[in-house]
């Protein structure tokens, strides 16, 4: 009898090993990034070098912002803890190389989704977490009230290596205005040069203008002109070629937006498990098997909502309450007059 016991145990062990391998899910097998992230125990996230409201570190090194929250949501979904994120501050110039060369796994750094970026350089945009547009800031006493007041010879300060540089050219060309572009590598130098009077106008995404205005010596002496000269859909980016990881990041963001739509927030998420609405129940993991499709457990979305909150909470905490852009504008839900509309999580 004992002769067989040994063989039996090894058989059980073998089956157990096989079983654990299969329960590691097909998805994890397919996704190198997911596997590596689970092995490391943190999500590697590329953020800006400091843009209040989007990704900004306080004195203690804690990162906050709507871009930061996307990475936190992924960490909550994949690792169960929204704080298991390693943030890497990147300049506009470094950001794509850092992602394609495997230094980071998510780039969530107010990055504009364009065709050439999506298709040409090995990147995939997974969604939009902020609808922005390029605008101009000028001195109040200049008397400019519209971009139509601009005259030949105007000098414009901006950041190097962004879509801003291209939009600016398109804009001034279409108006037939000759201009002087002064481009700096870092946002702080742009602000300092504009503040000193080197440039007549400072141009970048309107959210950026609102955030950087706080850094000027007397913010009240400057205004942002009403016109928006471009579409700037900002969103998280992942490497091309790992569709499972791509889906995880995409749906982590979508869940935050959908949670707001259905009124699920960090405070009431647990009680929503007994909701009558099947869509809500799916969101908090009380119905369906949505996690399995992503290679995650079924509580992944509940953790996102509980630990990070829904999109509205994130926006309020980071952008509205800090006085950057109290009005949500296009970043309001489609049901409330905005253009925030995500595919259903089902």
């Amino acid at each position: 009898m004992f002769k067989y016991l040994k063989q039996l145990t090894s058989l059980v062990a073998m089956v157990a090993v096989l079983f654990t391998f299969t329960t590691e899910t097909m998805a994890a097998k397919k996704s190198k990034t997911l596997k590596n992230t689970q092995k490391k125990g943190f999500v590697r996230c590329g953020v800006s070098q400091g843009l209040p409201g989007f990704s900004n570190a306080d004195a203690a090194g804690n990162w906050t912002g709507v871009d930061v929250d996307v990475c936190r949501a992924v960490a909550a979904a994949v690792l169960g803890d929204a704080n298991k994120v390693k943030f890497t501050p990147l300049s506009a110039k470094e950001r794509f190389t850092a992602l394609t060369s495997n230094e980071i796994d998510i780039l969530s750094r107010n990055t504009t989704w364009t065709l050439s970026r999506d298709a040409d350089i090995g990147l995939t945009f997974v969604g939009v977490n902020f609808y922005d547009g390029q605008g101009f800031m000028v001195r109040k006493n200049s008397g400019y009230s519209s971009v139509n007041d601009f005259k030949n010879g105007i000098s414009a300060c901006t950041n190097l290596g962004t879509t801003t540089e291209l939009n600016m050219r398109d804009f001034f060309n279409s108006k037939g205005i000759s201009y002087e572009p002064v481009t700096f590598e870092k946002a702080d130098e742009v602000v300092a040069a504009y503040d000193a009077g080197r440039c007549d106008t400072y141009t970048t995404d309107k959210s950026g203008l609102a955030a950087q205005r706080i850094k000027l010596s007397s913010p009240d002496d400057h205004i942002v002109l009403p016109e928006t000269i471009s579409k700037e859909p900002l969103g998280p980016v992942v490497r091309q070629g790992d569709s499972v990881w791509e889906d995880i990041v995409r749906w982590s963001l979508n869940v935050m937006i959908e949670a707001e739509e259905y009124g699920v927030n960090s405070a009431n998420a647990d009680s929503m498990k007994t909701s009558d609405n099947p869509a809500v129940k799916r969101l908090v993991g009380a119905e369906g098997e949505l996690g399995a499709a992503l290679g995650l457990d079924n509580d992944w979305s509940l953790r996102i909502i509980k630990q990070v909150g829904n999109y509205g909470e994130s926006y309020k905490r980071n952008i509205a309450d800090t006085g950057i852009l109290p009005d949500r504008g296009p970043n309001e839900l489609w049901t409330k007059g905005g253009i925030l509309y995500v595919p259903p999580a089902r």
């Binding site: 794509f96 050439s116 000028v138 200049s142 008397g143 962004t162 040069a193 080197r198």
Partner: protein, 381 residues
């Protein structure tokens, strides 16, 4: 030839080739996996971004290659300006450090110690933001000599508007060629007959008279275009017409030359001190005037010591000019390895071109300085 000698060389070569091969293969595989294509075809595509300051005609409708040229020329411009000023300041300060006057000597020493011990990037920021804080707005500026305007938006200087510029240039080339002939003739005459010809006065005469003749008889005509103030908004002004030197160029050239001049000053001091005292005394004892002593005895020997380390400083200055990106001067790194890289995403291609360009620039300076060093070296007969 000994196999023992060749084998290590071959092995080293093999290892180097293998390492390079491994890295390029690895890069290729990685790029393929991520769907990144490789190629230099983008250079002919439309760049669609503008640059604030360019020596050649350029705007966003030109190609990326043209943008590369713009950046390269701007790098060369700031390097040449920097090298000229660093050399002038360096020589003056270096000689001042050897002065017998205590005040001059100490001032020069303090300057050297101060500027060479502060990181260059900080100095660039200092000059740039100091300039931006100190310079007046366009409407507040006091013109220098009525035609130069130094403002926060740049240094506006008058431009010449030429008629028949080519004839004027030909006259200058003709003057230079005749000066070379005069020098050769004068040298021969001195060697054969021992009679000296006043080469300097003849040269100055030639370079002045020929271009003047071109004005009088060649139909050359130049008028001056003076910058005029222009109102942009209720409080915003700028200047139009003339030539505009951006404050970024001025502060970068200033920072580079003040920093590098300290090192050149030390080279000059070392060179002059390296010539033994006996040489000077011997030259004086055969009746040479102090000017001749410096020109014919001290300097030729000092230069031999000064040139090689100064070459290094010229190379450093050229490479340091890449810090321009920090203050928005559109050099090679900012325009090409910055904006163009961002817009195309072709990191490997662009960085490799940029590296090769700096390498070629440095090697060209090296070759020229080595040629000059050989020319002035003592020729033993």
């Amino acid at each position: 030839m000994n196999i023992k000698k060749i084998l290590p060389q071959l092995l080293t070569l093999l290892v180097v080739i293998l390492i390079f091969g491994f890295f390029s293969y690895n890069a290729q595989v990685n790029m393929e996996n991520r769907g990144i294509t490789f190629g230099y075809g983008f250079l002919s595509q439309e760049s669609s971004f503008d640059v604030q300051f360019s020596l050649i005609e350029y705007d966003g409708s030109h190609s990326y290659f043209r943008a590369y040229l713009v950046g390269l020329l701007n790098t060369i411009l700031v390097s040449v300006i920097g090298i000229i000023f660093a050399t002038i300041i360096g020589v003056v300060v270096g000689i001042a450090r050897l002065s017998n006057n205590y005040l001059i000597k100490r001032t020069a020493a303090v300057y050297v110690e101060f500027f060479r011990n502060i990181p260059l990037l900080l100095q660039i920021f200092f000059w740039y933001f100091a300039a931006l804080r100190a310079l007046p707005l366009p409407q507040d500026t006091e013109p220098m000599f009525g035609v130069f305007f130094l403002t926060i938006k740049g240094f506006f200087v008058p431009a010449f508007v030429w008629n028949n510029l080519d004839i004027f240039i030909y006259s200058i080339i003709a003057a230079i060629i005749s000066i070379i002939f005069v020098r050769i003739y004068a040298r021969k005459k001195q060697q054969n007959e021992g009679i000296q010809t006043p080469v300097l006065s003849i040269s100055i005469g030639l370079i002045l008279i020929l271009p003047i003749l071109s004005f009088l008889f060649g139909g050359v005509d130049a008028s001056v275009e003076i910058p005029v103030i222009k109102q942009l908004s209720q409080t915003g002004f700028t200047y139009e017409g003339g030539i505009k030197l951006p404050p970024e160029l001025i502060s970068l050239a200033l920072a580079l030359s003040l920093y590098t001049a300290t090192f050149i000053a030390e080279c000059v001091r070392a060179g002059v001190q390296g010539v033994s005292k006996g040489q000077k005394e011997a030259a004086a004892s055969i009746g040479l005037t102090p000017n001749q002593v410096l020109k014919l005895v001290i300097m030729p020997q000092a230069l031999r010591i000064i040139i090689p380390p100064t070459t290094n400083q010229y190379l450093n200055l050229t490479k340091n000019s890449s810090l321009a990106a920090a203050i928005a001067y559109p050099d090679l790194v900012l325009v090409f390895a910055g904006t163009a890289l961002m817009q195309t995403g072709r990191a490997i291609e662009i960085v490799s071109i940029t590296m090769l360009t700096y390498l070629s620039l440095s090697i060209s300076i090296s070759i020229f300085m080595n040629w000059y060093n050989k020319k002035i070296a003592i020729k033993e007969k």
